[in-house]
């Protein structure tokens, strides 16, 4: 990931405007994929949420929409991670990358702050904090936690998807990466930005979240 992508984005733009989705409406990422430019990803069941990238100290940086998707509806669990964010040019959501979940680990980083950790098999890692209305935030985060349990259970790694107990050996290396990332971070987050992403009820039911 080396472009204006998730770990080092420094993105501007306020993101897509518009009212919060009503329940059952596809999330922003899904709508983006449905917009006609990404035929090969159009029919994937997706479970997505809006996040902000945070530093290890919890400072807020750019917006990220993260989703997990199944490349076939027959799959019992998602197999792809999708990352998107506002484009530099016009702030519209733009897909940054698609990563096979077998090469990515997701952890709950700080449950009290609704934070996840995303770690690539190449060692690169970053932290995301859920951005959702306070009434639904716990429920939405809970769905991610359940998903993480299922993904971890399914893989050969430890069955408990929490970073706090497990992250000791890798901390040094990450410290360095974070510093680098923080240089490029711009605080452009608007406090009261409406949250548009909704969980795709179909995908979440499909995967028992």
């Amino acid at each position: 990931m080396k472009r204006r992508n998730v770990p080092k984005p420094a993105l501007g733009g306020a993101g897509e405007a518009g009212p919060g989705g009503t329940a059952g409406r596809p999330g922003r990422l899904q709508r983006h994929l449905l917009s006609g430019e990404f035929d090969e990803l159009r029919d994937f069941p997706i479970f997505e949420s809006n996040f902000v990238q945070v530093t290890q100290l919890g400072e807020v940086a750019n917006k990220v929409t993260m989703g997990v998707a199944a490349s076939s509806p027959a799959l019992e669990l998602p197999d792809l991670l999708l990352l998107a964010g506002p484009s530099k040019e016009n702030g519209h959501l733009e897909l940054f990358g698609l990563f096979p979940l077998q090469f990515v680990q997701l952890f709950v980083h700080d449950e009290s702050r609704w934070q996840l950790k995303v770690k690539f098999c190449t060692g690169r890692a970053f932290y995301l904090q859920l951005r959702a209305p306070s009434e639904t935030r716990d429920r939405e985060f809970g769905q991610w936690v359940r998903l993480l349990y299922r993904l971890h259970f399914n893989s050969a790694q430890g069955a408990v998807p929490f970073t706090q107990e497990y992250s000791a050996p890798e901390d040094d290396e990450e410290e360095e990466e974070k510093e680098e990332e923080e240089e490029e971070i711009r605080l452009e987050w608007e406090e009261h930005q409406a949250t548009e992403a909704r969980l795709d009820p179909l995908a979440s039911e499909l995967w028992g979240l």
Partner: protein
């Protein structure tokens, strides 16, 4: 931003040849000295102007490392253009071209325009593959050929834009059916009927370039 056409590109080739750097140079005009292994597909997009038409390039930068290859291969489908990249300082990356080419031909449309790229032309002193060898390979397999440097930006614009020109030429010759999405071409959302050539709607990036001139 409206556009007349959208072309899907893929960038393929061995790990470390500079695929992500080529994309970064093309979209952001930056060079990244550190190798961040790509582990799936990363996306980039940019508008170019060909013959007075705005064309959006949607670029799929794929992972070159062997362990990711079986997965990324499934996304070759529906590409109108491919940049097949090797590193002029590492002969093995040149030797692997045949297998990349087979893969690409097998998983995408037969009309796909393929641009062969010998990257890292700034490292002349470490050159391991002669320019003539690249040219010969391209001739033999019906590819376009250029040497580029993602570091100095030499020929990077040209590589992406000449590929688009060739696709556009094929569209005009009727070789590409633009309504068949398997060809990796889409018609823009609100295609304006005609944009005058050299129109001022072109962006910083929309310049027309003569063929193969340049710095390498």
């Amino acid at each position: 931003m409206t556009y007349a056409y959208l072309f899907k590109y893929i960038i393929i080739g061995d790990t470390g040849v500079g695929k992500s750097c080529l994309l970064l140079q093309f979209t952001d005009k930056r060079f990244q000295p550190v190798h961040d292994l790509t582990i799936g597909v990363e996306f980039g997009a940019r508008m170019v102007n060909i013959d007075g038409k705005q064309i959006k390039l949607q670029i799929w930068d794929t992972a070159g490392q062997e362990s990711f290859r079986s997965i990324t291969r499934s996304y070759y489908r529906g590409a109108a253009g491919a940049l097949l990249v090797y590193d002029i300082t590492r002969r093995e990356t040149f030797n692997h071209l045949t297998s990349w080419l087979e893969d690409a031909r097998q998983h995408s449309s037969s009309n796909m325009v393929i641009m062969l790229i010998g990257n890292k032309s700034d490292l002349e002193s470490r050159r391991d593959v002669k320019r003539e060898e690249g040219e010969a390979f391209a001739r033999e397999h019906g590819l376009i050929f250029m040497e580029t440097s993602a570091k100095t930006a030499c020929n990077v614009e040209e590589a992406f834009i000449n590929t688009a020109k060739e696709i556009y030429r094929k569209i005009q010759q009727g070789l590409f059916d633009v309504h068949n999405e398997a060809n990796g071409i889409k018609i823009g959302p609100q295609q304006s009927i005609s944009t005058p050539v050299g129109s001022s709607t072109s962006q910083r990036n929309s310049r027309d370039i003569g063929s193969n001139s340049g710095c390498c």
